[in-house]
């Protein structure tokens, strides 16, 4: 009887292996930023339908992604905070921007619709510094003469984990508020003066949705998916802009990718009448030499496919796909990802 079970089990395993072998599916793993998680998840689903290869992406925050890829526990890392060229050298990594999105402040007020409230960079900085504590503060009233603001305390929600979203948000606040720059600074993890910390973009979205009178900052796809009330912002040119593909694209237009080493570009507070002030690119980190070459090659195939066919899906979620000339520049840098034979792995990718 045991031998029958054994034989049947071995037969099933063999059949499974043959099926997998026939599909030539290689599973890749990634970890990092929660910022692009909605679009990566969509791409992974579509890619699996097309090619059978699965992507397992753990949305643990940019800090976590950087740590995991440095330890080589995943195939690729994702971070909204780009690494500087020295760090890339030290870690043996290449990095490139995969998609661009916008960070929006979201508030929770009963009866307020998206875009009803307008805030400026200075005001947001003061709120997050704890200097503005009530919703009916004169500074907020000045920007919103017609809005009905309750005399309720402001509940600040920020990130508790190492986050590229935080990096871009605090980078923006440091640019518009010298007070913020000296007291707190810009980084993936800062000493927040006030507020409660939540894990991931998802955590901040949840906390804001559940807490009356709160304000937080999330990537725009999260605001849309969780039906949160976003605010309008006043950009560098003094114009009031609303978060949308248009305003993100206007901000991204000024980026000089060709001359940025390691594609290190921060897109906050960009000039332009239509620019959204807190736009950010999110980056992929790939080791120059990986132990699992098949997975690394498959990862390059996946990102190549995303550049070629993923644009529409990205736009549906209000992410901006990278423009074609930049994609060409990016693909040139992929030749430095080599296999153990010294040949670039990208030669194995299908021409797209």
């Amino acid at each position: 009887m045991i031998s029958t079970i054994f034989r049947r089990g071995a037969g099933a395993a063999l059949a499974l292996a043959v099926m997998c072998g026939a599909a030539a599916a290689i599973d890749i793993s990634g970890a990092g930023a929660t910022f692009p998680y909605p679009i990566y998840a969509k791409w992974a689903e579509a890619y699996k339908k097309e090619t059978g290869s699965g992507l397992n992406y753990q949305s643990i925050g940019s800090g976590g992604g950087i740590k995991q890829i440095k330890a080589r526990t995943v195939t690729f890392g994702a971070s909204d905070q780009p690494l500087k060229p020295e760090e890339l050298e030290a870690g043996g990594l290449i990095q490139w921007p995969q998609v661009i999105g916008g960070i929006v402040p979201v508030v929770n007020h009963a009866g307020m619709a998206g875009g009803d409230l307008t805030l400026s960079g200075e005001t947001v900085a003061k709120i997050f510094l704890g200097e503005i504590t009530k919703w009916d503060d004169p500074a907020i009233k000045k920007l919103n003469p017609k809005a009905k603001l309750p005399s309720a305390p402001i509940v600040v929600v920020h990130r508790s984990d190492g986050s590229g979203t935080t990096f871009n948000f605090t980078n923006y606040l440091s640019k518009v508020s010298p007070d913020w720059a000296s007291k707190v600074g810009a980084n993936a993890s800062v000493e927040w003066p006030v507020g409660i910390g939540a894990k991931g973009n998802e955590g901040v979205a949840n906390n804001v949705a559940n807490t009356k009178g709160s304000i937080g900052y999330v990537e725009y796809a999260y605001a849309k998916q969780n039906k949160l009330t976003h605010t309008k912002m006043i950009n560098k040119d003094g114009k009031t802009v609303t978060p949308s593909m248009e305003s993100f694209q206007a901000a991204a237009a000024g980026a000089d990718w060709a001359h940025a080493e390691g594609f290190y570009e921060i897109l906050t507070n960009e000039p332009g009448a239509k620019s959204w002030p807190i736009t950010a690119a999110t980056f992929i980190l790939l080791p120059k030499e990986s132990k699992d070459e098949a997975a690394a090659a498959e990862a390059l195939k996946f990102f190549s496919w995303a550049f070629a066919s993923g644009g529409k899906m990205a736009e549906e979620l209000d992410y901006i796909p990278m423009p074609k000339p930049v994609v060409e520049l990016i693909k040139k840098t992929w030749t430095s990802v080599k296999g153990s034979d010294g040949k670039p792995l990208s030669l194995l990718t299908r021409p797209n």
């Binding site: 984990d161 800062v190 409660i196």
Partner: protein, 350 residues
Amino acid sequence: MFSIEPSRRSANGAGGEAGSDMSEVVLQQAASLSVAADRTRVLGRLALVDRLFRQVTRAAAVIVLVILGGVIVSLVYGSWPAMKAFGFGFLFSQSWNPVTENFGALPAIYGTVMTSIIAMLIAVPVGLGIAIFLTELCPYVLRRPIGTAIELLAGIPSIIYGIWGLFVLAPFLQSHVQPALIAAFGDIPVFSTLFAGPPYGIGMLTAGFILAIMVLPFIASISRDVFETVPLVLKEAAWGIGATTWEVTRYVVIPYTRVGVIGGVMLGLGRALGETMAVTFVIGNAHKISGSLLAPGTTISATIANEFTEAVGDLYTSALIELGLILFFITFVVLAVARYMLMRIEQKSA
């Protein structure tokens, strides 16, 4: 006299009454062979089994000690860089800045201790009340169901408590309870700072509530078990001279079961100190010490849970491990104090 026919009884494993069966069988067989040498051989085998049993159990006990020692050694080894960098100041520093790599444990220690104290203040009276109700006042029909319900509370995974706390309890507290507390204590001098601040919903008080609910089953069921060991004679004697139910509970039951009740409370406290997932959801993750119970804070386990996966750099990781070592130490101290108290009580009563 031994029987000469071979016995058919099958020999079970060593130990217990089956062992005496086996010895009997073996001794019967020995009688039919040459007596002396075989007798020594057989007795030697019995002694061997006995020795093996003793060694295996000793090894099990030693393994536990070795594991404990190993945990302590690896905690100390892991936190060595942080201990070298910060020294004792780590225990008293309030800053937690991963960028400048300046870490301090005080907010986490304060949060751990405060949430546990709040949990105990709520859970001990309620738990004892449940135990007294179940043993003295409850109709017999309801005793099993209520007892089972209390024990089911202990079986709920802690992360479910966290999710329930975040999605159900926190909004409820934020809209109804916390504004009432802030308004009620607004003018009273000490309490106004204790209950100050915007109603976040989550925070130290909420975490304390949830810990109290998690710790309640331990205190209630251990107290109930211990209360049931009170000899009926003692209680009947008290009732016989006219004591009321309350007086019996206060003067007979509780003094008799002091030791067990304190043991149960200490078990609950140990769980409250180390609880991670439920607290992480509702504590608010702010590395600050605030005078207000309604403010967000952090605990040692919540800090480690939140930041371990992304602690880049040796000093950051080492600081987190040192937090773990501090928690280990706090738990150890609490247990030692409990043991000492129990020892004193037993000495006094002896």
